[in-house]
């Protein structure tokens, strides 16, 4: 089922089957160019597949925006070790719910993307690491995997080509940290979900110490279209160096929240006004978190920005995972900061010092400020603690907690100051003669 009506401004590549009757079934999939990209890939030498993905300018949709083709090219094909394809379906970034609809509505698209990646790097096993909360989606995926086996798209000797590929779903246990690729691999291997020292990167030493292609759901889902229609066609949909379309999870104070597939580089204000139907209740826009809560907030006047990785970075934030959170003028920024920090404090894995101790400290100060028990020095302290975490943590979770916090304090300092307790006149002490 769909959560929102499609919008005419959308460019539907990955979501083209959304809304079709039985869009989850392999029959619908095959009737709508399903597995065409994979069949093409079977005819191509592996290097050509990777080349095509490179041409598409597809950048990782999990948040970091690393070019997918480049990532695949790091996998040493000649390595005697088995290779793995791992899907990061641990969609945990607050404000993001795009992988969910992709898997829910078109699971075979994901499987086809995995098959193409497997073909490109010579993998025979694939894992879909999916967050435990998406239990019903695991059932959808498992059904799709069963269908694919039945029709010869998975298993031994796929389509008579001699290619072998098995796919398994694997549940996470509810940790945000396990969306970080190396922590995901640890968790997949049955260990405590905490990140690994890198290098080596997963392409060289990933699942079970073997070369691994690890991408986000949306990244894999873009691959069938790239192979089917050509990398150049996909690239042309977006802006330079930012190929294709992207699923934006538009939420917050808009009239029509939902997941919309828009070309890379789509203007943020236009997204809010036209796609999202404007701010709820005709209020004024105050700020936007453009890519999930890890991204620094943009004030209303900063929101005239093209939504691609480079432009948003230039504007001082990140495109992240595409979770656009819109806030109107009634939003209390101190409460936003508290809520976001509560999340990161709860999710900090505890491995490294600055993230483990920094997030709880920040949370406590912010909660105190919010409760009206702050001190004037607290506001600068919040910024300084965040800066002390920034760039010094073991994995990006610490940065994800620090960066937005710095932006809240810098951009909405007056709201924090307004929360400080009013000065109370000190009574003259009673002098006992």
């Amino acid at each position: 089922m769909l959560y929102n009506e499609p919008h005419p401004l959308e460019v539907r590549v990955l979501t083209r089957r959304f809304g079709l009757p039985n869009s989850q079934s392999i029959d619908t999939y095959l009737a709508t160019d399903g597995y065409v990209g994979f069949r093409k890939a079977l005819e191509m030498p592996p290097e050509r597949i990777i080349e095509e993905v490179k041409i598409s300018n597809l950048r990782g949709r999990g948040g970091a925006g690393f070019p997918a083709g480049l990532k695949w090219s790091f996998v040493p094909r000649e390595s005697p070790k088995p290779k793995y394809v791992v899907v990061n379906a641990d969609e945990g970034e607050p404000g993001t719910c795009k992988d969910r609809v992709l898997m829910e509505n078109d699971p075979h698209q994901l499987l086809e993307g995995m098959l193409i990646a497997a073909r490109a790097v010579g993998a025979e096993t694939g894992y879909i690491y999916i967050r435990g909360e998406y239990r019903y989606i695991i059932e959808i995926l498992d059904r799709a995997i069963e269908e694919a086996y039945a029709r010869g798209y998975l298993g031994r000797n796929i389509l008579g080509t001699g290619m072998n590929f098995d796919v398994y779903t694997h549940t996470g246990a509810g940790s945000y940290e396990c969306g970080e690729e190396s922590a995901l691999l640890e968790s997949l291997e049955g260990k405590r979900g905490q990140p690994r020292i890198r290098p080596p990167f997963p392409a060289v030493s990933g699942a079970f110490g073997c070369p691994t292609v690890l991408n986000n759901v949306e990244t894999f889902c873009a691959v069938p279209a790239i192979l089917r229609d050509g990398g150049a066609a996909f690239a042309a949909l977006g802006t330079p160096r930012n190929g294709g379309t992207r699923l934006f999870a538009l939420s917050g104070h808009v009239n029509r929240p939902g997941v919309y597939e828009l070309p890379m580089g789509f203007n943020l204000l236009r997204m809010i006004e036209e796609v999202g139907g404007g701010i709820r209740g005709g209020r004024k826009l105050k700020a936007v978190i453009p890519g999930g809560t890890s991204c620094p907030i943009l004030k209303a006047e900063e929101c005239d920005v093209a939504m691609d990785f480079d432009s948003v970075a230039k504007a001082g934030s990140m495109l992240g995972s595409g979770g656009v959170i819109v806030m109107d003028e009634t939003t209390d920024m101190v409460k936003v900061a508290v809520r976001v920090m509560r999340f990161y404090q709860h999710e900090s894995c505890g491995w490294c010092v600055p993230c483990r101790e920094g997030t709880i400290w920040l949370r406590k100060i912010l909660e105190r400020l919010d409760a009206g028990r702050g001190q004037p020095s607290d506001i600068d302290l919040v910024a300084e603690i965040s800066r002390n975490m920034l760039g010094r943590t073991f994995c990006p979770l610490g940065d994800a907690a620090a960066m937005p916090t710095i932006s809240y304090v810098q951009k909405f300092r007056e709201e924090f100051e307004a929360r400080l307790p009013k000065k109370v006149a000190v009574e003259t002490p009673l002098v006992v003669v």
């Binding site: 709860h346 505890g350 010092v353 709880i360 406590k364 100060i365 002390n388 010094r392 943590t393």
Partner: protein, 697 residues
């Protein structure tokens, strides 16, 4: 020739082997990069973020503990950005730290204190409530105070990687993350206490030491452990003539940081209430306290009397007394008492090995060889239980250099966790199983063979012949039980051998009675037992024999004695021990025990009372004599004086004695048992309930 890499650290040109981590490259150049979680020889963590350094062209600070030195790399370790980062990390660490330094065991020797003193801020900006959890007891010996923990994961790594026990793990998440036992709420482990010593702060504390003293109030005496044959250096913390703790935090000695439960906690037998404090003499069937003069005079008179009438005197020496004492004892027996009925409890057939290796040098492996050898073969021994340091050394070799280990054992052993080949055999069929491995072993570049008491007598010769047949360099370790078992054999506490494995015929003597024969002789006139408890296992046939026992406790043997002389323990004397690998190390006296005398002093007193001349009862003087007269013991004194281990090299020639394999019998102590001493150690007794089988494999 290994490849070298040139880089610049703080303006200094540094040249290090390729693959060196920047933190170690800096150390080589005399630059300290602070770190908590980095620990030499354990897996990398990069968790504490203390070692962040600035590297030219890197966009952000990098952890020196995971950064491999690259040619031309330019590293700065003291820039404002680095200094500020360190300060920030320490501030973070202290936010939820209880700062209970005034009552913390680690106060004064705490790495967190040191780091804050050197790099930290002078004031606190933390106004919030700290996260607090209650202290937990993991075992009788290990306590854990989570708030003090800085989560460097050293304890988890040493337990898993170092010992192969995996008793400790990580529980909960984020700021609530804690170290915890992997099985339930308590430790089922070796109780080695490595986790306590390796802890940089006061989070893991010792059940025996906690809240007893401040570190600076103790004197630290580096000596050799009194228990098993591995010869670990242990540093005793002494205050007011009491041993408060033992550890080896300075990683000196052949064992580095390693100590097992005995070395770290098993020292408390010295203060057991049943420790003998005065000589005892049997009067009217009862042992009654007398003074030393009376006791010595009585023994001297009886010995003289029995000697004068040509009576048979049996002498049983110890696996725990020093080389000097063993040397003097056999000298006393042979020269003063004129008896050659002298023996000790033999726990491994060292004699047969020395004989089998006649004509070659360097065929006895040292503890260092165990860490470096490319391949090792363990025969019929449970190293983790009986030779804990050797087990640690082999495991470290496997972790660091990929040792290929072969194990041939009757039962499961922990080495099987990583052995390339493990073979189960029925007791008595060990060698046949070993010979089945010939083809595989021939492919190894070198081999160290460690064998237990199942290989003895002729079998030792068969084993050495097998080693020769492999066509590769082979070294041997004959496993023995106790702190100076090896020294007892080297010093000639044997009825057929003089010190240095020289036949008694050289001294014009006949072969004497061995231990069981002494006990079984119905016409024995006197039995002199020094630091041994032979009557625990066998009765004394001669009911009329005059029995003298020197011991710490009233053992089964001492209870039969006519005179009991209270002896000093290894921690109360100086001298030397020779460990299982033939390495000589020096004991340093930690405390005085009132009432007791060292066995050497006792020999001196007896000699004087008998107007006999055995030389000065001074360990240094006796060792001089040993160096001059015992083949293989002419070692460099400065090595010993500096706390080092000097390898001995026993006589290089055939040892023409009759093989007596039936005399070789290991006591098969476990990690938690240690003969008489173990029985009187409260610490060891407190953990003997720990199920020793559980953590294997």
């Amino acid at each position: 020739m290994e490849e070298l890499v040139k880089l610049t650290i703080d303006g200094k040109q540094v040249e290090v082997p390729a693959g060196t981590l920047v933190i170690n490259a800096a150390k080589a150049a005399g630059i300290e990069i602070p770190a908590f979680c980095y620990y030499d020889g354990l897996a990398l963590q990069a968790a504490c973020r203390m070692c962040l350094v600035e590297v030219k062209k890197a966009p952000k600070l990098l952890t020196a503990c995971t950064l491999v030195a690259q040619p031309g790399m330019v590293v700065h370790t003291e820039t404002p950005a680095v200094v500020e980062a360190r300060k920030a990390m320490l501030e973070f660490l202290l936010t939820n730290h209880p700062l209970d330094c005034p009552v913390c065991d680690k106060g004064g020797e705490c790495e967190l204190q040191d780091m804050v003193f050197r790099y930290g801020a002078g004031e606190s900006r933390f106004l919030e409530q700290k996260v607090h959890t209650e202290e937990k007891q993991f075992s009788p010996l290990v306590y854990f105070d989570a708030p003090r923990c800085i989560l460097c994961y050293r304890c988890v790594r040493i337990c898993d990687e170092g010992l192969g026990v995996k008793a400790l793990g990580v529980v909960h998440r984020g700021v609530y993350t804690e170290i915890g036992p992997n099985r339930g709420d308590h430790l089922e482990c070796d109780e080695c206490g490595m986790c306590i010593d390796i802890c940089p702060v006061g989070a893991l504390t010792s059940g025996r030491y906690r809240y007893k003293t401040r570190p600076w109030e103790m004197q630290h005496v580096g000596t050799i452990c009194a228990h098993c044959s591995n010869g670990c250096k242990t540093t005793l913390g002494v205050r007011n003539d009491a041993i408060i703790r033992a550890n080896n935090r300075d990683r000196s000695g052949l064992n580095g940081e390693f100590l097992c439960v005995k070395g770290r906690f098993g020292f408390d037998f010295v203060e057991h209430p049943e420790r003998l404090r005065t000589p005892l003499v049997r009067e009217g069937g009862e042992l009654r306290p007398v003074n030393w003069m009376q006791a010595v005079a009585l023994v001297a008179r009886r010995f003289e009397e029995i000697r004068a009438r040509g009576g048979r005197i049996g002498v049983i020496g110890s696996n725990r007394t020093t080389n000097e004492e063993n040397y003097c004892l056999q000298k006393f027996a042979r020269q003063v008492l004129g008896t050659n009925h002298i023996d000790h409890h033999r726990t491994g057939d060292v004699v047969a090995l020395v004989d089998a290796l006649a004509g070659r040098t360097g065929a006895l492996a040292t503890t260092g060889d165990l860490y470096r050898t490319r391949a090792a073969l363990v025969i019929a021994a449970d190293l983790a239980q009986q030779q804990p340091f050797l087990a640690f050394q082999l495991r470290a070799n496997w972790r660091h250099h990929g040792l290929r280990l072969y194990a041939v054992t009757p039962g499961p052993v922990r080495e099987e966790q990583y052995a390339v080949r493990s073979v189960r055999c029925r007791p008595g069929e060990e060698l046949a199983a070993v010979e089945g491995l010939a083809a595989e072993l021939k492919g190894e570049p070198e081999l160290v063979i460690l064998f237990g008491d199942a290989v003895k007598g002729e079998l030792v010769h068969r084993l050495v012949a097998f080693g020769d047949s492999l066509g590769i360099p082979v070294k041997y370790v004959c496993l023995v039980d106790y702190a100076n078992s090896r020294g007892a054999a080297d010093m000639g506490l044997l009825p057929d051998l003089l010190p240095g494995y020289r036949p008694v015929a050289e001294a014009g003597l006949e072969r004497g009675m061995a231990l069981p024969e002494i006990l079984a002789a119905p016409d024995l006139d006197a039995l002199w037992v020094v630091g041994a408890n032979p009557l625990k296992d066998a009765p004394l046939a001669s009911t009329a024999a005059f029995v003298v026992v020197q011991d710490l406790f009233l053992t089964e043997t001492a209870r039969r004695a006519d005179v009991v002389l209270p002896a000093a323990s290894a921690y109360e004397k100086t001298g030397t021990f020779t460990n299982v690998c033939g390495e000589i190390q020096q004991l340093r006296k930690a405390i005085d025990f009132p009432g007791a005398k060292t066995d050497l002093e006792i020999f001196g007193l007896l000699a004087r009372a008998m107007r006999a001349e055995i030389g000065p009862a001074n360990p240094e003087k006796v060792f001089e004599e040993i160096r001059a007269t015992v083949p293989g013991y002419n070692v460099a004194l400065p090595v010993l004086a500096a706390g080092g281990a000097a390898p001995s090299s026993p006589q290089n020639g055939r040892v023409p004695v009759e093989w007596r394999p039936e005399l070789i019998r290991s006591a098969r102590d476990t990690l938690f048992r240690s003969g008489t001493l173990g029985r009187y150690s409260q610490a060891l007794n407190s953990v003997t309930e720990a199920p020793g089988e559980l953590y294997r494999g």
